[in-house]
């Protein structure tokens, strides 16, 4: 009702402007409907079918059949477990990121060169660096085992060929790959903390640990929160490095992630319906985890104002 009254009072110019406004809104809205909403709805429908891409989707609806199967799918849970284990890399990356950012923030010479160097992995092609690291981790000819042998005279571990080591290797790789962006973000965060806080603390006789604990850490929490959210979402989507660095998901499927499993099901084995169901479950998990993170932020995220 209220809207109607407003409309009648609109001048011709306001009407014209309103039309333009709708047009501007329409562009992203149509984009969203076409490239997000439609595929999502489609994926959800496909997830309830035995669709193979060849057969008719509607003729093969099985309801929640795929979901029930996934609950009992040992390979899915193994991949899910591995995906979660890989997230151990997130706090490690954060700690290293803060430490290095604080180091760089002391105004040491060559700061720009160092920042650039740390950032190179972030902008490099994931496929290219994965191939490179597959060689770094190589059992006989790799950099790590070369150093290990030179130091100890013994043969190093089979980084990518051992069921347990392959997880460690992937975490090392992911930390290395993501470190650059956490450093940049933390560096920006550090530079946003007003100097006078530290000066006041110094006058009160605070030591460096107290300063870190009571000023730096809390005031970096928005950055930490951002990194946490994006890394967790990214963590659930790890795929390329597994595909490139391991053969068929690693020894006894020990390196495979959920997205790798999804890809294998949908595109290698032609089970697009089942693959869609895995994708939907993954999306729901990401939604829940992200929602929890957002709700929980009140307890620990502090802003300067």
């Amino acid at each position: 009702m209220a809207g109607k009254r407003v409309k009648t009072r609109m001048s011709a110019m306001a009407k014209r402007e309103e039309r333009w406004a709708w047009l501007f809104i329409a562009a992203p809205f149509v984009g969203f409907m076409l490239f997000m909403a439609y595929p999502i709805v489609f994926a959800v429908i496909a997830s309830t079918s035995k669709w193979t891409g060849l057969n008719s989707l509607w003729g093969n609806i099985v309801g929640l059949g795929n979901y029930i199967k996934i609950l009992h799918d040992a390979k899915f849970w193994k991949a899910m477990g591995t995906t979660v284990i890989y997230m151990i890399g997130i706090p490690i990356g954060m700690i290293l990121g803060v430490l290095i950012a604080m180091g760089l923030n002391r105004g040491i010479p060559g700061k720009r060169v160092l920042t650039t160097m740390y950032y190179v992995p972030v902008v490099s092609s994931l496929v290219a660096v994965s191939i490179l690291w597959a060689w770094v981790f190589n059992y006989d000819y790799g950099l790590f085992n070369g150093i290990y042998k030179a130091l100890t005279g013994m043969h190093g571990p089979n980084w990518l060929g051992d069921e347990h080591m392959v997880k460690v290797s992937m975490i090392i790789f992911m930390v290395w790959k993501g470190l650059g962006s956490s450093i940049i973000l933390y560096l920006a965060g550090l530079q946003n903390i007003p100097r006078d806080y530290y000066e006041a603390a110094m006058i009160d006789g605070a030591g460096s640990w107290a300063k870190f604990r009571n000023i730096t850490f809390p005031l970096l929490s928005p950055v930490t929160f951002y990194i946490l959210i994006t890394s967790m979402i990214g963590g659930f989507q790890v795929f390329v490095e597994v595909q490139v660095m391991t053969n068929a998901g690693g020894p006894n499927y020990s390196a495979a992630t959920v997205v790798y499993y999804l890809y294998e099901k949908a595109f290698t084995n032609g089970q697009l319906g089942y693959g869609s169901a895995v994708a939907v479950i993954l999306a729901i998990i990401i939604f829940i985890i992200t929602a929890i993170n957002f709700w929980g932020q009140d307890k620990w995220v502090r802003t300067i104002d």
């Binding site: 490239f35 994926a43 057969n55 790799g142 795929f239 290698t268 032609g270 990401i286």
Partner: protein, 496 residues
């Protein structure tokens, strides 16, 4: 409250974008897809020295006619030149009808994904690849059409009998009925040995007329396995086999079958031939006659073979050109048969592979498309080029039987085509003669190859001594069966 709502919305937006992201994940790395037309090239991803084109490339040849044909294939760059020429000729021959042929070539890795996208979008090329495993589903779902009515009988009869059979389907079984594809190739996975290592060890070469028995083979491998530089570590091995591809010929040669005759039941537990053969196969590694599992992860058998560290290694028909190139493989080598187990039919067995040109059911020009498919498959000059008769690099045998047994063999004998002199081993496998036999793999007859994955990907545990052959087979059978059941279900869903 407002903030929480905002948080929820943001979380929703973020995870929703993740879902969309998942659905479109793509990669430019090799995806082993044994079902994808059972293409043999993929078995040796590192075996292709020739650079593959990055992504797709599209060439267009134009005539004066009205009609446009779209051809979508994967192949290597040097093959593309050969086929481009055939397409150009075809346009000229039919220039009154054809306006243009759009020839799109992508990498093997990308092909599956692009075809899936084409299928889902209902936008099929006029001519594209189909593997023996896919014929049934493609026909059942109405994607492809019979070609025999558009192509004369003589042309069809000129190709290998096997490739006439595997692309026929009568609505219930493969092998009879209408012909749905012409072969791009028919390949087989033969065995090769490094002659130089035999000379060094003073061992007589394997007899191409009489493949080794399991026992003889292990004995020869023992003599070829040594520590050459005296550092206490073995650096030359008798044999190396990739579990995914190189294990099955050894098992097949002991009469092994993984499935029952109608391909509905996995039989690996109560399968004495398999137990015997798998024990033999894994013992080769346990006894140190192959690189260890760890060494194999560091450097695959193929690379070690090229480095001259391996006595016996698999040789697909597509590998020959590379092995004949002294820059790639600077050793003398020749072909031989896979070793024969005591419980088989006494013949050496291996697997064959093929991929074929098929024509979309929705093409507006079935006649032209079918003729183009036939030309790509059976044009004599084209076949002379890919088999090496006119180019000197053999990437496959000619599809035309007369050409294979006549001109091709002569060219091998005269040295015009650089080839292993024991080429008869390959012909023997194709002929199914007294000593050799080849067949498609069982995975070529099922909807997908997933049921075989737990088997080949778990065999290394036996080699490592972590599980016995018997326990492994017991453990793996239920998993294989459930995956096979799923494949059958999906296969049948196609006819709905």
């Amino acid at each position: 409250m407002k903030k929480k709502l905002l948080s929820t919305l943001m979380a929703a937006a973020v995870s929703v974008s993740m879902l969309a992201g998942c659905a479109t994940t793509t990669t430019d790395t090799p995806a082993a897809a044994p079902d994808a037309g059972a293409a043999p090239q993929q078995t040796e991803a590192p075996a292709e020295p020739a650079a593959e084109p990055e992504g797709s490339s599209t060439e267009t040849m134009t005539g004066t006619g009205e009609e446009t044909l779209h051809v979508f294939l994967y192949m290597q760059e040097h093959e593309k030149e050969i086929y481009q020429k055939l397409i150009d000729e075809f346009v000229q021959e039919h220039s009154d009808q054809i306006k243009e042929v759009v020839f799109e070539v992508t990498t093997q890795d990308e092909y599956n994904q692009k075809m899936t996208a084409n299928l889902v979008a209902g936008d099929l090329p006029d001519v594209f690849y189909v593997g023996p495993a896919s014929v049934r589903q493609y026909v059942d779902n109405g994607y492809i059409q019979p070609l025999d009515k558009y192509v004369d009988d003589a042309t069809i009869k000129s190709i290998w009998g096997t490739t006439q059979e595997i692309y026929r389907y009568d609505g219930s079984k493969i092998g009879s009925g209408s012909l749905y594809a012409f072969p791009k190739d028919l390949s087989c996975f033969a065995f090769a040995y490094n002659q130089d290592l035999f000379d060094e060890a003073g061992i007589p070469y394997p007899d191409p007329e009489k493949p080794y028995t399991y026992e003889e083979f292990a004995e020869v491998c023992k003599q070829l396995t040594k520590d050459k530089d005296g550092d206490g570590e073995v650096d030359q091995w008798g044999v190396a086999c990739a579990d995914q591809w190189g294990m099955t010929p050894i098992l097949y040669s002991n009469g092994v079958k993984f499935l029952n005759d109608d391909m509905t039941k996995v039989n690996v537990t109560n399968n004495p031939q398999l137990t015997e053969a798998l024990t033999y196969y894994t013992d080769l590694t346990k006894n140190g006659l192959t690189p260890t599992v760890d060494q194999d992860t560091a450097l695959g058998g193929y690379q070690r073979w090229l480095d001259g560290q391996i006595g016996f290694y698999a040789c697909g028909t597509w590998d020959v050109a590379a092995f004949m190139d002294p820059n790639t493989f600077p050793y003398k080598w020749n072909l031989c048969g896979w070793p024969v187990g005591p419980s088989g039919d006494g013949r050496s067995h291996t697997w064959m592979g093929s991929v074929g040109y098929t024509v979309s059911a929705t093409t507006k020009f079935p006649d032209l498309a079918a003729q183009l498919a036939a030309k790509l498959s059976t044009d004599e000059d084209g076949q002379r080029a890919v088999s090496g008769i006119s180019t000197g690099a053999s990437i496959q045998l000619p599809n035309i039987v007369d050409l294979a047994y006549g001109e091709f063999k002569d060219a091998v004998k005269s040295g015009k085509v650089p080839y292993a002199s024991n080429v008869d081993v390959i012909f023997g496998y194709f002929d199914n003669n007294d000593h050799y036999a080849a067949a498609l793999q069982e995975t070529d007859y099922t909807y997908n190859a997933e049921w075989f994955t737990p088997f080949w990907s778990g065999v290394f545990n036996i080699k490592n001594g972590d599980i016995t052959v018997e326990d492994f087979l017991k453990q793996v059978e239920p998993e294989m069966q459930s995956l096979l059941d799923e494949a059958i279900e999906l296969q049948n869903s196609a006819t709905n």
